[in-house]
Assembly symmetry: C2
Homo-oligomer: 154 residues x 2
């Protein structure tokens, strides 16, 4: 697929690893360069990306409405998620695409995707196989509650 | 807590408005300067903030599990959310704190807050009064579905 060398390790990487963007080619997990995104232009133009070219993707179990996790997507990750039936994220720490479940088996089957009113968040409803969290819990929020003061209508 | 200066302004920032940080003082909606965050240090040290000092906050209706919206919080917004019973965000576009419902009446009463496994996302479960979205829809994702290819287990 590619004549490019594999990228250097991401977090400590010096210059040369491009920030994600709709137009960049980026290395995937196998070190392949991937083409510019084929995301429909009306969707691409509505996305409000952060400084790294990413939007937040909330992943929700489609039948129970559990919030499973939050990941990040650039245009290409969103395009793959919309067109392949499987959820693909862009890893901020590793600076590469990752398709949920490829190593763990904990696949996320896409049921629907919605973009929010200002284009900086996506709601991806899925059928989650097994644990959504890499720590082994069903969701990335299980057992991680903070002590708060609750509120109620006066 | 710190003698460190505030970080440089975010890219789209007008001159003189500091990016949010745990240590900065920032103007709220009324233009008041607010004190450094009193967020507990164990929580502050677990947060993994983006380049603008923010984490994503997913807001979910506590009894139906609807995902209502996604907002952004710095340390101070999280501290206010945890201690006042009302959800406070940090607006990336306006660069100020905003307490949901102060202008619309569409208050979010806090039921619980959880931090995810890697500290870059919060799940805030609330009792939402009225519409969560400024456009008037119950959630910021209503009626905003994208055309996707769905997936199912083989």
């Amino acid at each position: 697929m590619s004549e490019q060398p594999a990228p250097s390790p991401a977090p400590a990487s010096p210059a040369g690893v491009p920030a994600p963007s709709a137009d960049a080619t980026l290395p995937d997990a196998a070190g392949n360069r991937v083409p510019s995104s084929a995301l429909p232009s009306d969707i691409a133009s509505a996305l409000k990306r952060d400084g790294a070219g990413l939007v937040a993707a909330i992943v929700q179990q489609h039948d129970t409405n559990e919030v499973l996790m939050l990941g990040w997507m650039d245009d290409e990750a969103l395009n793959r998620t919309m067109t392949t039936g499987r959820v693909t994220f862009y890893s901020r720490s590793r600076q590469e695409y990752w398709r949920k479940g490829d190593t763990s088996g904990h696949v996320q089957w896409v049921k629907s995707v919605a973009m929010d009113c200002d284009g900086d968040a996506l709601l991806v409803r899925v059928d989650q196989v097994g644990a959504a969290c890499h720590t082994g819990t069903r969701t990335c929020f299980d057992g991680r509650s903070l002590d708060v003061v609750t509120g109620t209508a006066e």
